[in-house]
Structure formats: C-alpha cells, structure tokens
C-alpha cells in the first residue's frame, strides 16, 4: 500500500518472473521494474513486447508510484510517456486519485497541465485547419500546435504506445483559463480537458 493507494492486481513478468504490483487493474502496458521488459496485458494474459525503452533519468517533481498532493487531493503516478520535440522533451504522467479517477499530468519544463480524458466532439479534419491564434467553433483559442514523437515510457499505462510513435496535438484555451488538448493519433481524435497548475502547488504526501 502506498499512502492510501492499494495494489489492485499483481502479475508476473513473463521475461524474468518477478512480481509486478499494479495500482490500477485496467492497465494495458507495463514495464517490468526488474528487467525493464515491456509487457502487454490482454484479457488477463501477459505478452512481451518486442522492444523495451529505457529513458534517461531526469530531475522531476513527480516520481513513479510516489503519491503527491495537489489542492487537498492525493494522486499516484502510475506511468509516464516521454515525448520529444527536437531539442527537448516533455512527459505525460498517467495518474489516479484516491477515488480511482484517472488523470494525465503533462510536464514541460515547469509548465504543468492536469487533464482528464473526455468524449471527443472534434473531427479529424479539424486538424487540417487549426492555426495558432484561431478561434474554434466553440469559442476556444488555438494556443499551440505541434507533433509529438514518443521516446519511450516507464511504469504502467492504460494504452499501448510504441517508441517512435507520432501524433499531432493542439492546445485550445478557454474563457475561464481552462485548457483543452486534442490529440490525433492512429485511433482518431482524443480530447482532454483540464487546467494549468503551478509546480509550487504540488506537495509531498506523508
């Protein structure tokens, strides 16, 4: 148990046999803590992926399986994906709160965005027309567009990612300082809704 977060499921690594505790049972992809093998989880079965990623260690306020506090709530980081943008990178952390809700925390050199996945109402075609500064049909302003390339992952994830995968993304800012992120990948448009948070508001738990 990690400060209020319980292990919901355990599996054994098909490569080294070590036990892998999972804090969220709907995990689809996990990296073995011992041998760093990438493991797919499908219908209670485990399968080794062909390639495993090893991310260079970086200084971060957030650490895998170490809970942190934000606005009177605790969050447990379950996994992270690192994306590159040429000279730098940012990380998308998959979190769950103490009530089991899922979140994504994007960290880009001090810029923190906490978001939740919502039903998408945007079409794939929208990505062909969006430019920075443009106002969308639902009165959101386009503040950033770009392409992300996956450099690898650590921990557990609710979706499968492959090193080298790319997707287009767009940040849309709302009137109440809210942020909407659209991602266009091979499975279509995914929409995430959330807000900017200050790294100074992130607290240690326990």
């Amino acid at each position: 148990m990690t400060d209020g977060f319980t292990v919901e499921k355990s599996i054994n690594c098909p490569q080294c046999g070590d036990t892998l505790p999972l804090y969220f049972k709907h995990v689809k992809l996990v990296q073995c803590l011992s041998c760093k093998s990438t493991i797919f989880l499908e219908n209670e079965a485990t399968r080794l992926a062909g390639d495993s990623s090893v991310l260079a260690p970086e200084i971060s306020l957030i650490h895998l399986n170490v809970p942190f506090g934000y606005e009177h709530k605790s969050y447990l980081p379950l996994g992270k994906i690192r994306y590159s943008y040429g000279r730098g990178f940012w990380e998308e952390w998959w979190l769950k709160d103490s009530e089991g809700n899922e979140y994504w925390l994007s960290i880009d050199e001090g810029d923190f965005v906490l978001e939740q996945k919502v039903d998408s109402r945007y079409s794939r075609e929208l990505f062909n027309t969006l430019n920075v500064g443009q106002v969308t049909f639902d009165n959101l302003i386009v503040t950033e567009t770009g392409m992300a390339t996956c450099e690898g992952f650590e921990g557990a994830l609710p979706k499968t990612v492959t090193k080298g995968d790319t997707y287009l993304y767009t940040h849309l800012s709302g009137k109440d300082a809210s942020l909407t992120t659209l991602e266009l990948g091979k499975d279509g448009v995914e929409t995430y809704l959330g807000k900017w948070i200050s790294p100074f508001d992130i607290k240690k738990v326990g």
């Binding site: 000279r87 001090g110 807000k195």
Partner: protein
Amino acid sequence: MSEQIVSDSVSAIKCTNCAAPLNILGGGRVSTVTCEYCHSVLDLNDNYAVLSKFEKVKRPLGPFKIGMRGNIKGVEWTIIGWVTYKTIEFSDEEWNEFFLYSPTHGYAWLVYEDGKISLSMKVRDFDLFSWKVKKPKTLFYKKGHYILDDESYMFYIDYVEGELNWVAKFGDKFTCWDYNGVGYRSLSIEKNINELEVFHTTKLNKKDIYSAFNLEYSSKSKTRKDETFSDDDESPSVFNINKIFFIMPLLLLILAFSSLFYSKTVYDTSYRTNQKENFSIDSSAFLTSIKISVSGVGTANNKLSLYKGDEKIFYIDKQKVFFIKKDIGKSWVSNAIAVTIYLKLDKGRYHFIGEKNPNQSITTVKIEQQVIRTNYLIYALILFVFLLSIPYFKERE
C-alpha cells in the same frame, strides 16, 4: 563579491559570428542565445544562425551574472539570460530581468529594479479572455485582490545577453498593465506584437537573495539608485493599502473622540407638570438625541410628542413609539427610568409636549444636536479591522 558559476549540465558551443565560447545552461525550451562578446542573437532551433545583432554593447550594472546559481523559495535556479528594459516615457527608468531556469520548475525572472529584487513567473491560468474585454481597474487572481497601478505604460528592450525562450531584439516594444496586491505581490499583463502574457511577481528579501547567490551583502553593494530607499520600503500598492489600514481606524478613533465635544445641547430642563417647549435645530449633521429621564414614581405615565410646525413627527410612551421618517421599533422599556432616542432631524424650529401625572415625578428632557453614536463607530472600527486583516493573515499563511 564572490560568485558561483555553474559547471555541470552545460553544453558548450561557439558563436557562429565571432567564435567566442558560449555555454548553454537552459533547458529544451530555450530558443536563442545572445553572445556576450559580439552581441549576436543566435537561433538554437536553426543551427545557431544569427537572427539579429544588438548595437549596444555596454553591459548594464547589476549584481547578478549569467551562470550564477541560487535557491529561491526552495528551488535551485540558474541564471541563464539577462534583459534590460527601459520605459519609453522616461528613458532613465530601467530595470534588469535575469532569466532563471530550473529543471523541475521551468523558467522564471529575477527582477532587479532600483535595488529591489523580485521573482516573476509566467502564469497560465489567468482569464485573459475576460480581461481583454473589460480591462478592469481591480481584479482577483488565486484569492488575491489586485488594483491597477495608474495607467498602462510602454517599455522596450535595451540590452540582452545569454539564453531566452523567445527571440528578443533591441527596441522590441511592450505595453504593460501593472496590478498591485497585498503582500508585495503584483500581476503584470504584458503585450507585444505577438503575445499577451501575464506574470505574477513577488518581492524578495534582498539580503536573502544575495546570500542565496553567494553575493556579499553590504551597504557598498547598493547602487546609486538604492540610496533613495531602504529594503524595508514597500511597493506603492502595499503602501497605499497599509495607509488605508492604519489611517481609517485612526480617523474612526478621532471621530469617536471628537464626538464627545462636537454635540451641542439645545434643550435641558426638568418639569413636574405637562410641558410645552420650543427649540431649534440649526445643524442637520449627524443625529439629534432626546434623552428622557424620570426620577421618583409614575414613570409609566410619561409621554412625549415632538412637532415641526403643526405636524407631529415623533411620539413615545411606555407602550409605543412613532417617528415619521422610519419605524423605530422598540419603545421605552417598561421598567427603565430613562431612554435616549436618536433621530435624524432637519434644520428648523420644533416644539415638544411632555405629558405626565402631575407631581408624581420629575421628568428631565435633554435634547442635543450633532450627536455621533460612538457605539456604531466602534462596531465599524472592529468590522473594518477584521475585514482588512483577513487578506493580511492569509498572506502570512
């Protein structure tokens, strides 16, 4: 003066214009570096191509240098860039902003102006949509109240050195709206040709920052401009708010004290039988008080009616009370031997009729004009101090 220059996590390159060595200290979002020797602005996203060149080569005075590291608010920062700004209206008004980088907290600015030091960070969660529509004089951000400091002003870039996460050119102009809050905090909304950005700034203790950056702090480290104020100076907004904080209670106290001497007795007589008396009110300032007191037995039969001309404007006895301007509510308490009523009377001539059972008691009526009710002032004082202390204690938390 000692200084600590960062030696790790540095990538070294050569200026593509003059071949001088350049250290890259910042993270992946740094986009330009300005050579300290030839003042060429190099594009880090395009093989260090020269974007522009600063003609001004004289480095401004300032205590900080690129490469210094220090801990501010528990975060280790490295100074990676330096920008000097000047206001367009007053060219001798300038300040230096040192660009800070932390791998965990990103980027911030260490602002050095007239010897004062502040930490400024870009905020992303400010509702710029609403601000652009209303441009309010006062606004709230994260439970803080901020007041627009005068009008907007314009400034331009006068000097650049080191790394930035944007492309800065000499003479680039900005318009700024400063909103000042309590606790040495302010919000600045800056607009240039491309962007509209918001920065939250907190004043820092100069001595602490000098210590954090391994700088020797002494009276000699003060610049010429420092001599006009001390580190204990407060920002204009804080000074204004604190002025209100102290002056308002003082005014209320003065008002309460002066009320003891300000009122004027216009009638003060005792009577044993029914009485009709005239009196004049020559000032409508504040209130008129009518104090009725009874000695001996027979208090229950005392009645008093007040007239202006032929019109009855006030009446009181032990059962009921009436005032033409408003409902007074409670009357004279049945077992009380005195009552004081406060009425808002206009200037003019009045008369009252006092009715009672003859010879059973002595009734005294005292009428005073320009009376200030001190109990209201005390309530106002307590409420004022309470309301103003809320943000103060929140800031301290």
